[in-house]
Symmetry: C2
């Protein structure tokens, strides 16, 4: 137990290195600032591992680190991003999320108030995605700029028995469907960072996609491919699709949903919206005959209101991603090379 | 595909921000510097999640971030530490490790040669622990000091059907057993950091404990409690044990295994070795009558050669951790408050 002297040296409103020592201060930090918001039967015992019962079957396992700057941006924050990113990786693997792990690396100097906000956001996003934070870890690193917080989430999920995701099943004539408007996450973060005047209009799309994806499976459409176009954007996933199928992907620019403000912002920043990260969109490939019922199911979900068929696979060789532009021209879309937008997720 | 111009701007021997963009450079980094060493059937498809078959039963899930400085230290490095730490958290939950996730946050400026060494170390530790890295993620953050690398691992494991770990089963007379010499990890890292003259003699104990723990269960001893005394050391776990059982723990100082060099180093640094982190030791509580067969099983394992019974639970109230010193005195051992040794793991 701390004595009065040692209690007094520790600031009540900022993270200090001692919060990472694994002693009484670490316990207090977790007990006061994590457990009350994240409480659930798996997390509460604070043992080395959470233990849960699973049924026999296919289990999906995923992880991502989040280093976004700033940690709060229009439409979300690093906590919501970390929960949604991992939930979405499970969802696009055809899995129902079961449990998440949460590892937080805090920078000395982070204010406790900001930490509380982020943890509340994690709790809200987990509730929205119907998943629990089952186990976690906290570490503290030295002062840098005083606003640092990095989060790594991992997640496990039960793969749906009816999931038959396999790019090798994709054939000529299949269509590419997206769940909504592109480029909003990356542009919102970038605008917030640069302090652009219109930043308040742009909001990240960060959201948990698990219930939308469940509705897509439940529509009966034959989903052959599912991906969330995060880093690398629509261009990156399109490049993967072409590489995996050895078919050409024709994208119809006029069919790709994008808001006026996002298009305008991308032009202003000189960035192709096709390469910008999304955090609440899903791409799928289905036989052309399944597109209508799939789109109907997606559009009746709040996160799929702007779902659209945006491209199709054709046999042209060599396999390329071709954008049919609004004026009827064609341009080749390449996988982004390096980093268009650093620390966007 | 990159064109020549964009290829030329990227250094071949250092991490740059563009390696974190999720584009072609990220793919190359993973393909050249992670996959060749970590290759396995789960990781190779590089999908959003690894998918594996599991049997029905209890699954353990755990995570930890590793921020140790320096990232290479006598006896190990951050890669070995990250694998062993997560394997050990599963082991002390009574679980056989099945798969790990690996999330790496690299600082711009990290040399590729160092990264290669760390990835090789991860691969070697995973092989030693008989576990695969099933999925992963890489991110890059801005330059700080040029040597930064943080790793977060999560792990899943199958809980042994015979595991009955529950501190509420602990009774007066039960004994506390440790698998070997204390304080070696924390002191080795601290000595390396401070450049102490005798640093070469001190080596971290970082090791995967899963096979030792399996041997402990297989001995038939009734293991009621298992913990690896990492941050907070033996003192931290002892405090937890007392808090959980409401019994007093009497530790026999003369029975606690510690090397001469570790004791000497701790004295020199002014640190109580009881609070120093270990990364290759396990603590267990068993009925007194089971101690001999447990110790025999542990001592026939390479990681348990110095196993010893070091304490016992007694009914004295209030519940405390009492150290019976070499000279026969008694002192109360407290949970460390803050951080004795920052960034030790």
């Amino acid at each position: 137990m701390p004595n009065d002297a040692s209690t007094q040296v520790v600031s009540d409103d900022q993270i200090v290195l001692a919060h990472g020592g694994g002693g009484e201060l670490t316990r207090q930090l977790v007990a006061r600032h994590f457990l009350p918001k994240l409480a659930n039967g798996l997390l509460d015992p604070l043992t080395d591992s959470a233990v849960l019962e699973v049924a026999a079957g296919r289990l999906a396992l995923t992880t991502d680190s989040y280093v976004v700057q700033p940690i709060r941006f229009p439409g979300g924050d690093i906590g919501r991003l970390a929960v949604c990113g991992t939930v979405n990786d499970l969802a696009v693997s055809g899995a129902r999320p079961i449990a998440l792990t949460l590892a937080v690396v805090m920078e000395e100097g982070l204010t406790i108030g900001v930490l509380d906000e982020i943890v509340a956001s994690i709790a809200a996003a987990a509730a929205e995605a119907d998943v629990v934070v089952a186990t976690g870890d906290t570490k503290v690193i030295e002062h840098r700029r005083g606003d640092g917080l990095m989060i790594t989430t991992a997640g496990i999920g039960e793969v749906r028995p009816d999931a038959r995701l396999d790019a090798r099943r994709i054939a000529t004539g299949d269509v590419l469907v997206i769940s909504g408007r592109i480029a909003e996450h990356g542009l919102a973060v970038m605008s917030a960072r640069e302090g652009l005047a219109f930043q308040t209009e742009l909001v990240s799309d960060v959201a948990p996609l698990s219930s939308l994806v469940a509705a897509m499976f439940d529509s009966g459409a034959d989903l052959k491919f599912l991906r969330d176009p995060t880093r690398g954007g629509l261009a990156g996933v399109s490049a993967d699709l072409v590489e995996d199928t050895k078919l050409t992907l024709e994208l119809e620019e006029s069919a790709i949903p994008i808001s006026r403000v996002a298009r305008h912002t991308a032009e202003l920043l000189g960035i192709d919206p096709l390469v910008v990260a999304n955090e609440g969109k899903v791409l799928t490939v289905v036989p052309a005959g399944d597109a209508d019922r799939l789109l109907a199911a997606m559009r009746s979900h709040p996160l799929g209101a702007h779902a659209a068929a945006i491209g199709r696979l054709v046999p042209s060789q060599p396999p390329l991603v071709e954008l049919i532009t609004r004026v009827g021209g064609r341009r080749i879309v390449q996988r982004p090379y390096g980093e268009e937008l650093p620390r966007i997720c």
